[in-house]
């Protein structure tokens, strides 16, 4: 590509979108004359102008149709095993519904952790890193609990092999569970921890309660990462996890924070902000659509994502989210919970300005969309 060509192409930057310019740059043969290049550019502009949306085009409904229509063709299988050894993920229709609902608790939280350059090449190192970030609970180190009714003690026998693997001794664990076990004396002996009552209360119930309580104490790793799985992707190793904790993972020094993602939209919104959440919605939905072998243009998905994020917070496509924000009383009432909307409107004296679609359908008026948008006035002599 000659510099001269780049200059010509770039001079159209205000008339054509960047992506089109890029394709031109890639497709144009290197030996083309300047006059032919300008001819091509004019041609591209004409093609672009032809393909532009017309004002009044009902892009919303077309988008909804484009996503809703293939919905019937998607599988309902919640669990999909991608390849032989990957983490289970919700896919298909349930996943799309989950994303559009903007659920705060998703069914299968998952992360893809990319590592920075020196850390991501060696399988052993990556495996070690993965083992380190996996959340480990006290429970996992225990091989036996024994409650003695006579002595009023709880004896916890730890798994020596696991302790050694993680370079821990019983004392370390005691430190961690101390705060949970107030009112007890903790003593350790080799791989055993002994719980005894501090005061006089001799309730076996308390011992049982403490046993259940300490099970969930985090011993190591990152909170929430239930499973980790190092996987080779292209030239590097990536860690897939089930369970997520974007905030803490991004803070780790080995992690490439530019590429690491979570599949939890709400978490992304909290950690990275609304624009990241919008992109995450697009990515997640597009991923599902593609995996089902359907062809849906990304613009339709973008539109839904933009609607969900337009107010600055992620709103679901539900009666509590996007729909509740509509200005029109009748539009809201015709969706769900009509009585609630009508009574509230009456108390607050709301006015429906009939600017959207359903209200006008209700009163038999043309809708202000498409051919209903322009008004024609005949000039009378």
């Amino acid at each position: 590509m000659k510099a001269e060509h780049t200059k010509i192409i770039n001079s159209y930057a205000d008339k054509l979108p960047p992506l089109v310019l890029k394709t031109v740059e890639e497709e144009v043969p290197g030996n083309i004359s300047a006059s032919n290049l300008s001819k091509i550019m004019e041609g591209v502009i004409a093609a672009y102008k032809y393909a532009e949306v017309h004002p009044g085009e009902s892009v919303g409904l077309v988008g909804a149709e484009s996503i809703g229509e293939p919905g019937t063709q998607m599988t309902l299988n919640t669990f999909h095993l991608a390849g032989v050894a990957e983490v289970q993920v919700t896919t298909g229709l349930p996943r799309i519904i989950e994303v559009f609902d903007a659920r705060k608790e998703i069914k299968t939280p998952m992360m893809e952790i990319y590592l920075k350059s020196p850390h991501n090449k060696n399988m052993e190192k990556v495996r070690k890193f993965a083992a380190n970030i996996k959340e480990m609970k006290f429970e996992e180190f225990v091989s036996e609990y024994s409650l003695s009714i006579f002595d009023q003690t709880l004896k916890v026998v730890l798994n020596k092999g696991l302790l050694d693997d993680n370079a821990l001794v019983a004392k370390d664990l005691i430190k961690l569970i101390k705060t949970k076990a107030k009112g007890f004396n903790l003593t350790s002996q080799n791989e055993e921890i002994l719980f005894t009552h501090k005061g006089k209360t001799e309730e076996i119930k308390d011992l049982y309660a403490i046993k259940e309580k300490i099970k969930d104490v985090k011993v190591g790793g990152v909170k929430g990462l239930k499973q980790v799985l190092p996987v080779k992707r292209n030239e590097e190793y990536v860690v897939l996890t089930s369970g997520n904790n974007l905030k803490d993972v991004l803070a780790l020094p080995e992690v490439d924070s530019n590429r690491t993602t979570s599949n939890d939209i709400y978490e992304i919104y909290k950690v990275l902000g609304i624009e990241a959440a919008r992109q995450a919605i697009i990515n997640e939905v597009y991923k599902v659509v593609e995996s089902q072998g359907l062809n849906v243009n990304i613009r339709h998905i973008m539109l839904v994502a933009d609607v969900m994020c337009a107010s600055g917070v992620v709103k679901g496509v539900t009666r509590y989210g996007v729909v509740s924000e509509k200005a029109s009383v009748l539009a809201r009432a015709s969706f769900e919970t009509p009585l609630k909307h009508l009574f509230n409107a009456a108390l607050e004296g709301e006015v429906d300005d009939l600017t959207s679609v359903v209200e006008n359908v209700m009163i038999n008026q043309p809708v202000p969309i498409g051919t209903g948008l322009p008004g024609l006035i005949t000039k009378m002599k």
């Binding site: 077309v62 019937t72 969706f335 509230n344 006015v351």
Partner: protein, 856 residues
Amino acid sequence: MDRQVHKKVCNINFSLFSPKQIMDLAAAKVVTPELYDREGYSVDGGLMDIRLGVIDPGLRCKTCGQKLKECPGHFGYIELARPVIHIKFVRQVLDLLKSTCKYCGQVLIPENNISKFTDVFDKVGKEEGFEARRRKIKEVVNKFKTKEKCPHCEKKQEKIKIEKPYTYYESDLRLSPIEVRARLEKVPSEDLKIFGYVEGFRPEWMVLTVLQIPPVTMRPSITLESGERSEDDLTHKLGDIVRINQRLFENINAGAPEVIIEDLWDLLQYHVTTFFDNAVSQLPPARHRGGQVLKTLAARIKSKEGRLRHNLAGKRTDFSARTVISPDPFIDLNQVGVPLSMSMNLTVPERVTEWNKEYLLKFVKNGPKKYPGANYIIKPDGKRKSITEDTQEEILEELEEGYLVERHLLDGDVALFNRQPSLHRMSMMCHKVKVLPGKTFRLNPAVCNPYNADFDGDEMNLHIPQNDEARAEAKILMLVDTQIISPRYGLSVVGCIQDAITGNYLLTKELVLSRAEATDLLYNCGVTDLSPLPKKEKVDGSEVFSVLLPNDFSFIGKDKSGNDVKIVNGKLKSGYMDKSNLGQESGLMLRNIYEKYGPAYTAELLGKISKLGISVLARRGFSIGIGDMDLPLETQDEIRATVKKSEDEALKIIDEFYAGKLDALPGRSVAETLELNVLGALNKARNKSGDIAMKQVQNSAAITMARSGARGNPLNIAQMTAVVGQQALRGKRIESGFKNRTMSYFGNKDLSPKARGFVKNNFKSGLTPAEFFFGAMTGRDALMDTALRTPKSGYLYRRLSNALQDLKVEYDGTVRDASSRIVQFSYGEDGLDVSKTKNGVVDVKSVIQNVIGASK
């Protein structure tokens, strides 16, 4: 000539009626529960009072003097003997009682704070919308509900409780609606702002003293065959209310004991409550004598069958028809075959002018019984006259300019054709009518795909637009031709299907025709100009096909098996025509023709290609039989060997598992690893044998169809001829149905392929009972999946379309919603309309090719 008055509703206000407004609006005061007197006339002051509107033919409304169907009905009212709480405002009343002073009625906030809070509300409302404002108000009100001392009169407040559904208690003392109302009356209007109520609203209106009676037209009675009248549910409920109300009046006037009055009052409250909403959770619903629950006001509005969704957001139309569809490949793509009997009932209004009077008179002369005739004429004053044998003469003479004639449907009339579920805009397209004998709608099989129709008994609807604006819009925006490119992905949604594909595939691949045959074929699909056909005795199939293509059309693409398809200047040089170029949802060939030659040309060409394919098959003959599933002996052996090998492999893995030698995959248990490995091995068996079966040289019809993409795929063929393969349930092999085994027929903990759903046989050789049962299991699972999915995806679609329906592109290119809030600055970040792009992108390549090609 036209007496149209154009009025536009510009907005709708919502508010509450005050008692005074209810009385002012009322046409009658209802005082007696009787409906009719002995002669059967409605009683004055009863619920069916003819001042409230008429529902009997012949009667005139006493209020407006209009007849049935003209009179919209008028409201009435009942004066309640004692006030009752409106069930739908119980919450609001409770909030008000809790947050205002028992003695002075003022809100429990120091004076100066009120304006402070209202300012906050306005600000929140402006910045974040009314929903946020509502939330803020709730928050503030909740804060002051629990105050114990009035900041104005310094008096101590008592705790107010509610016993659902509608009884208030103040420190265990019951507050009667009269007291509640008195409290609410005390609240000063200025203080109400803090609750977000509209200016001029008084809270005491939420405790009813008069009850509005809906017009008779809203609750018409039905006369049964026996002559008996059956009243509407609402009338029944209102009758109860009036009856109790009158008794309460009488008892109060007679000075009855307080207990009796209380009881009646409670009953009145119950009846008024169920009149509004018969599904209040703590109340038993009011019932008919038979035990059927009454359908009262709330139930009439709510739900899919309610007023809003059933009658207001969805409507029914005249001039429409519905019947079974059947295919007709010999009508055009954009035509629809309409049965003659239907076309004599569906009509198109045409205005009589100086120039078409003769033409229209012809229809009137034919009358309603002879096609093409006319059923009605409409006079300029809007009166409609039926054309019958008696009136025909008179009408013929009377007809003059300005009259409308409703003539029968003719060929070429514009119609909208639709199939439910209407999931996308291609579910309702404009077709041109072609009147045909028979009793079904006929459509070209190529448009099945956008409608998602088949001919196993599907029915479709037809609508005839009734004015020029509607016709123009239908023709310009909705015609099949204009809908060829899907807005979902920017490729064509119509294309050849089934026989049309097979036919063209065979034609371009292997047929050599005599010149006579070729001309016959071409004439048959509507080609009259045979000059592009080479002047030879024997013509290649591809040359016949090329005759249809425009002379200046060049195209380079791929066919289904990956070979190049080359069209140079309207001649098919290499490659075969198959699904990837002729079919729907693929194929850039049609997309390119559409771009270069426009919608109408593409539709016509597609029709021709489709007809050509079908004619080829009709002449050549094409049939499938069980013999198509036969494989040569050596192939059969080969397949048997492959299957055996895979089975052995699977058994080996299982043995390893039992010997404890199987290594677990990362993140999996050993048992899971076993399943995955076995599944992998067995799937390999089917894929391999499928490939072997497809490779067989014998060109059976089944294989031809699979290769051309017309019907079936290699997998189907493999299942029929070679091996059905592993049946998978939720991505796994079939697991236990009994304890540790899938069927009692198998041994305990048998993990071998045949015991876990591997079907070794093929459909032709037949399945063993166990195999058949495994097949039935996966089949049932698939059925369940579809049945569960349809409503889910339907609901998702409804939510999406409700949320997005009012987004549109503005004149400045931004995408905005109904309240002009910007959602996107440029649609899809580059402002491109998907239906005008090729698979979502501007085709830079072809522009470059055009320029370079031109300069060469």
